[in-house]
């Protein structure tokens, strides 16, 4: 076990470094000199030169990368061009909201999809299986930014039952409906894709387990069907939990469209605003943090899964 953990941790380091290199080079993908993103277009050559020296942009790229990596690892992501405030603070403020949104969405998705998938997997080939499979395909085919708009039209514009966007206040209070109601539509919208993916995974995991010999043995021993199902679920759960964990990481980075639709003040919304204002430091910082979270979630899921299912360690 210990050896496996060490191996996985060591394997994650080059990936994390690679991700940081990609994020660092994002600035150089921008058209023109990176310094021009910091300056008004009519700045004179002298100012440009001075700023270049100031930011170390006159030095070779590998040196710049290492300096940037050092600054970032100490939590210094530079200053936002649009607001002038440190990027780290802006990301920190928004990240909690995205964790809340993505976490709730994955939990909601898991509760719906696991029941759907188990029923379908147990009775594979029946009409209910086809129905679940159809819903799962719909879940992954639906553009969730559009679904968000449709839900706003139905529940906010027509029924006037739920708020269409934003958040009640900066301080989130999970006990008050006043605050929770802002989450209902975004969480439902964001959970559509994971519902599709988790339902598919559960369905195939359960139907595979149901065909194994120990299930026949359990039934032959006269166990009631619900207890047979309990054994089946226990065996089908590890891959489903793994997919659920991976989906959390995906939603953390992929909530940008849904957050934009609902003006949810999370990291995705921050990113979408940074795109509109061409705020490259915010763009770079947010993408780095979100992709690092994705790498860490994947690593955690791997390690967690290997404790649940020791067979994986040998693979």
């Amino acid at each position: 076990m210990f050896g496996y953990v060490i191996r996985r941790l060591l394997a994650a380091i080059p990936i994390a470094l690679g991700v940081s290199i990609v994020c660092f080079s994002l600035v150089y993908l921008a058209p023109g000199d990176p310094i021009q993103t910091l300056l008004p277009p009519d700045a004179d050559a002298e100012t440009v030169d001075r700023l270049k020296r100031l930011y170390g942009l006159d030095r070779p790229l590998p040196v710049q990368y290492l300096e940037w990596l050092y600054r970032v690892s100490t939590g210094d992501f530079g200053k936002s061009i649009a607001s002038g405030r440190p990027v780290a603070g802006e990301i920190y403020r928004s990240l909690g909201n995205t964790v809340l949104l993505a976490g709730l969405s994955v939990l909601v998705a898991f509760s719906i999809a696991f029941i759907m998938g188990t029923i379908a997997g147990r009775q594979s080939g029946t009409w209910i299986d086809r129905l679940v499979t159809g819903v799962a395909v719909l879940g992954v085919s639906i553009p969730n930014y559009w679904l968000g708009i449709v839900l706003v039209i139905i529940f906010s514009v027509e029924l006037m039952a739920l708020p269409s966007s934003g958040m009640a206040s900066d301080k989130f209070d999970p006990t008050s409906w006043e605050h929770l109601q802002y989450l209902v539509l975004p969480v439902f919208t964001l959970s559509m894709i994971p519902v599709g993916i988790i339902a598919r995974t559960t369905r195939s995991a359960v139907s595979e387990v149901m065909n194994q010999e120990f299930i026949v043995t359990l039934r032959a021993n006269g166990l009631p069907e619900w207890r047979v199902l309990k054994h089946a679920i226990k065996n089908a759960l590890p891959p489903v939990l793994a997919v659920m964990g991976l989906q959390f990481g995906t939603l953390m980075g992929g909530s940008i469209l849904v957050e934009t639709v609902f003006a949810w003040p999370g990291s995705g919304y921050l990113l979408s605003k940074a795109i509109l204002t061409r705020d490259v430091p915010v763009l770079q910082g947010t993408i780095l943090v979100l992709s690092m979270i994705f790498v860490l979630t994947n690593l955690t899921v791997d390690l967690f899964q290997s404790t649940l299912d020791p067979r994986i360690r040998r693979g």
């Binding site: 553009p143 679904l147 980075g253 992929g254 940074a274």
Partner: protein, 304 residues
């Protein structure tokens, strides 16, 4: 009775008057076509997809109005068959039906072209990595792992956002997003085939590497790669529209479905039905693409 069957089964044996011939032998593609013919769901969605593609191709002849023609007096007309605008008009008074038809050209192109290019590049890299093994495999697959370590939406937004948006940059970003997963699928399939006896046998009989790759490797790798690529087209269309929705893809006044959705978002209180339309177009396209891809997967008997 049993002798009659065994007689008929033996090649060259004279078939009796009972005509107990073997069932007609089909090739691999014959089998695929046979299975598809008895899969009504896939056929229906395939037909829908074909219709959408044809409508996009022939939009200049099908569209009743000029999709760029604005009018202040006929803004946000509701859909209905009484007026001249069957699907209503948008926030600048342009005919929705014409814009949706023309929009299909842009949206489908932005979704399909990146998958096509990524299949060539990613698939090629994967076959090379899987067949070469060793250091080459390590270099290609570790670089792939890095790009795999980004959620796809985030990577697409990051690259096109840094490059400054626009349809071309959006397509480059999507291509980069799709290369790593395609490379992985191709690499897995290739390294499985590489160790099979028939590849060794072909090499041992002196077949040149080029021919072994073409006949033995590609023949077995192409199926999984193409199936996977077809499932990516729907992702591509959703992501491409998403980029345009964020202001990173196609620029106004081009009629892209994602961009139309974003522009019409301001009008949900006035004309909710019209607002929902571009999304319905995206949904219909992506769901039929997914169903066709699933149908092909089971018809071609490809394990995911």
């Amino acid at each position: 009775m049993s002798t009659a069957v065994s007689d008929a089964a033996r090649p060259g044996a004279p078939t009796g008057a009972t005509e107990l011939a073997l069932p007609k032998q089909r090739g691999y593609w014959g089998n695929v076509g046979y299975r598809l013919r008895y899969d009504p769901v896939t056929l229906c969605f395939g037909g829908l997809l074909l219709l959408i593609i044809l409508a996009a191709i022939f939009s200049p002849w099908l569209a009743p109005f000029d999709p760029y023609q604005e009018s202040i007096i006929r803004r946000l007309k509701p859909p209905g068959f009484q007026g001249r605008y069957w699907l209503g008009t948008d926030e600048l008074g342009r005919d929705m039906l014409s814009r949706l038809l023309y929009g299909g050209r842009i949206t489908l192109t932005m979704g399909i072209v990146p998958v096509f290019i990524a299949t060539l590049i990613g698939g090629g890299l994967g076959v090379v990595a899987g067949f070469a093994g060793g250091v080459v495999n390590m270099i290609i697959m570790r670089v792939t792992d890095v790009f795999y370590a980004f959620p796809s939406v985030l990577l697409a937004v990051a690259i096109s956002g840094a490059m400054g948006g626009g349809a071309g940059n959006g397509m480059i970003a999507l291509t980069l997003v799709f290369i790593p997963p395609l490379c992985r699928v191709a690499e897995t399939a290739t390294s499985q085939v590489r160790n099979l006896d028939f590849v060794d046998a072909a090499r041992a009989t002196g077949a040149p590497l080029r021919l072994v790759l073409w006949h033995h490797v590609l023949g077995n790798v192409l199926g999984p790669v193409l199936i996977y690529a077809s499932s990516l087209v729907s992702v591509g269309i959703i992501l491409a529209s998403g980029l345009s929705f964020l202001g990173l893809g196609v620029k106004p006044p081009e009629p892209d479905w994602g961009l139309m959705l974003n522009a019409l978002r301001q009008a949900i209180y006035v004309s909710p039905l019209v607002c929902a339309m571009p999304g319905i177009a995206i949904l219909l396209t992506s769901i039929s693409m997914n169903m066709v891809s699933d149908g092909l997967r089971s018809a071609m008997d490809v394990r995911s």
